[in-house]
């Protein structure tokens, strides 16, 4: 089905680790891009939440990261790869309420062990891979119901 494979948009964005002032700029941009493409508002909302939580994670824990947005009709795909400490125990990290966040992250209104759960819950498909000392890769797919 050539039509459903049609690529509506591809873009790559850099995220700077540790810079809490700029945290959210990438996901704000992703949201407005999706809106301009005329993507249904429910998909835009989910993609915005997912990309924002993922961006907060990169800013909070990694040196830097890259977020890639790919849009096909009815499908929004967001991939985030970071150069961070990695996650030693993914099952534990995915548990709601489990967090290694410091005070600075908590002061921003995050770091309560909800981020990855929110990402998983708002994604229709979610993959996480991590290597300690290297980094973490997330892949989220959001589709039209």
């Amino acid at each position: 089905m050539a039509e459903t494979n049609q690529n509506l948009y591809s873009g790559t964005f850099n995220i700077e680790g540790g810079n809490f002032n700029s945290a959210g700029i990438v996901s704000t941009g992703i949201k407005s891009t999706l809106k301009k493409l005329g993507i249904p508002s429910d998909l835009v909302r989910k993609a915005a939440i997912v990309s924002y939580e993922a961006e907060i994670n990169v800013v909070s824990y990694a040196k830097k990261g890259v977020m890639t947005l790919t849009v096909h009709p009815g499908v929004v795909c967001i991939e985030v790869t970071d150069e961070g400490p990695g996650i030693p125990n993914i099952d534990l990290a995915m548990q709601e309420g489990y967090s290694t966040a410091d005070q600075r992250i908590r002061e921003m209104g995050f770091g309560a062990g909800m981020g990855l759960c929110n990402i998983r819950n708002y994604s229709d498909a979610f993959q996480i891979e991590s290597e300690v000392g290297k980094g973490t890769r997330l892949k989220m797919t959001i589709t039209t119901p």
Binding site: F20, N21, A23, G24, S27, T28, K31, S41, R45, A48, I49, Y52, E53, I56, E96, E107, M108, G109, F110, A112, M114, G115, C117, N118, N121
Partner: protein
């Protein structure tokens, strides 16, 4: 009700969005934890919070929040005000505490964007 009614009820000061007071609002969500706001708040709701940094504005933008009500007399930073202006998100500040703010709005007909979470995982 209109945002101007919210302003009256809460004896609030408008910090950003003086031109948007005819905005219609029906629901609200209150929390200082932005991840909970992201998990539960609905588009078009008021966000009641004591957090004043730029992430409150980013969160509101992500969710299409109608307006932010800062409680306990909190004042946002200049960066927060600038971002709210840029993203056209009204900010009001009230001296009422979160509990009073919610109670006063509820009495006048504003309801929660949800009453209870669905299950123990907290998923909406």
């Amino acid at each position: 009700m209109k945002l101007s009614d919210v302003k009256e009820i809460l004896d609030a000061e408008v910090i950003v969005g003086e031109d948007n007071l005819d905005l219609d609002v029906k629901t609200a969500f209150g929390a200082d934890l932005m991840s909970d706001v992201l998990a539960f708040a609905k588009a078009g709701s008021l966000l009641l919070t004591g957090l004043t940094n730029t992430q409150v504005i980013r969160t509101a933008n992500v969710l299409d929040i109608a307006a932010i009500i800062l409680v306990r007399g909190k004042k946002p930073s200049t960066e927060t005000i600038a971002l709210a202006r840029e993203l056209k998100i009204p900010i009001l500040t009230t001296k009422y505490i979160l509990f009073e703010t919610a109670g006063r709005l509820y009495t006048k007909g504003i309801v929660g964007c949800l009453q209870k979470v669905d299950n123990t995982s907290g998923r909406n």
